[in-house]
Symmetry: C2
Subunit: 210 residues, 2 copies
DNA sequence: GGCGTGGGATAACGCTGTTACTATGGAAAA
DNA sequence: TTTTCCATAGTAACAGCGTTATCCCACGCC
């Protein structure tokens, strides 16, 4: 009695099959990059034919989209694990550092989220909404600063988006090879610049020499 | 006497053939995106067989790399066309706006430069060096601010890289669909935040209420 | 028990990049 | 002028891809 991962999952219903396929795809993505995401390979990995992938995901686009939202969920968990701090600005800086660490550690996931490494794929509006949910963590942290009266101006949502963009920008350039030697310094400098540009804090006021 | 683009170029030597092929590829990229960059299509477009592409570019990777450095050169010309201003900070802001305009107008080129829309392709170190040459324009503008004593701190190269990253970050998120409604505001806010965070100017000193 | 239907495997289609093979055409050598 | 030779280009094949059509089987229902 042979029992491939697929046969085991089959006894537990469609949900188990789905996660089994997603797990295999996830492993291939992390290990070999987006190029390894071939339906035939995924099917072979779990021991079934590609037909099953079409029933579960309606083709490659659907599979990649499922992987896409899963990547954002992982990302959210990682950011949620950053411990709170007494200083809300410190907390925000730590969120930024965790962001970069995740991106560099799981760069194939990060590429899936923000590059477009799979030729045909563009996330649906629904998937984009789920992706945006990841950054409520960032928005909450900015809202905390706003509640403390430390925002220099602008809507909290826009401030959070600016921060997100700046951090993503450094990480993206770094991953593309455009910051070969001094990515660390550029990242910290960008973080500091956004901090003094967006917020009012005692420490930045000292820096400004007021 | 049939005269395809290829036959015309053939009489003028390899360089003409090369540019003819690159032009066709460039047109396909701009019009239909990276997915249209198929060797057979490019060859058909100019009226030759794929063998010629292998002689000129040694395969798809070489062709895409040629397109990649060409995209950066176009980008550089666009940034170089931004007129100087009396206020060097204003000039920098205008560079940022021109950056975004180019990226959104030629988004398929921008994707080629900073995303990785062609599965196998990663730019060589040499191509990355040529790409970096694009941003000497940005570095020069920052150096001008430094010469005027307006830098808040940090090496000019790092400051330029931070700016680049922040701008690229907004544009990248915008193109990925993550800033559906308020991309304009987020972009201007990021520009302003980086301005007050990185530079010392009379206007920002007023904003800070000193 | 026979029937119908849903699910899965196989194979084919058209596409991709790549490579081997073949023919051709013009320059160099005799 | 004739012959040789080699770079060049076109054709076709190969392996792989996503996708789809076909066939088959096994299960539930009447």
């Amino acid at each position: 009695m042979a029992s491939s991962p697929y046969e085991l999952a089959q006894r537990q219903g469609d949900a188990a099959i789905r996660t089994s396929l997603l797990d295999a795809a996830s492993r291939l993505l992390a290990a070999e990059g987006p190029g390894a995401l071939a339906l035939r390979r995924i099917a072979a990995e779990v021991g079934c034919s590609t037909t099953v992938l079409y029933r579960m995901f309606e083709g490659k686009a659907g599979l990649v989209e499922a992987l896409y939202v899963e990547a954002f969920q992982r990302f959210r968990r990682r950011l949620a694990a950053v411990p709170e701090r007494s200083d809300p600005l410190e907390h925000l800086v730590e969120l930024g550092r965790a962001y970069r660490e995740y991106a560099l550690a799981e760069r194939n996931y990060y590429r899936l989220m923000f590059g477009e490494p799979v030729p045909g794929f563009r996330p649906s509006d629904e998937a984009l909404v789920q992706a945006a949910a990841t950054f409520t963590i960032l928005e909450d942290a900015v809202a905390a600063l706003d509640a403390a009266g430390l925002l220099a101006g602008g809507e909290p949502r826009h401030v959070a988006a600016s921060l997100w963009a700046a951090i993503h920008g450094v990480v993206s350039l770094e991953m593309a090879g455009h910051l070969p030697a001094d990515a660390d310094e550029v990242f910290e400098a960008t973080l500091a610049a956004m901090g003094t540009g967006l917020f009012r804090t005692p420490s930045t006021r000292e820096k400004r020499g007021c």
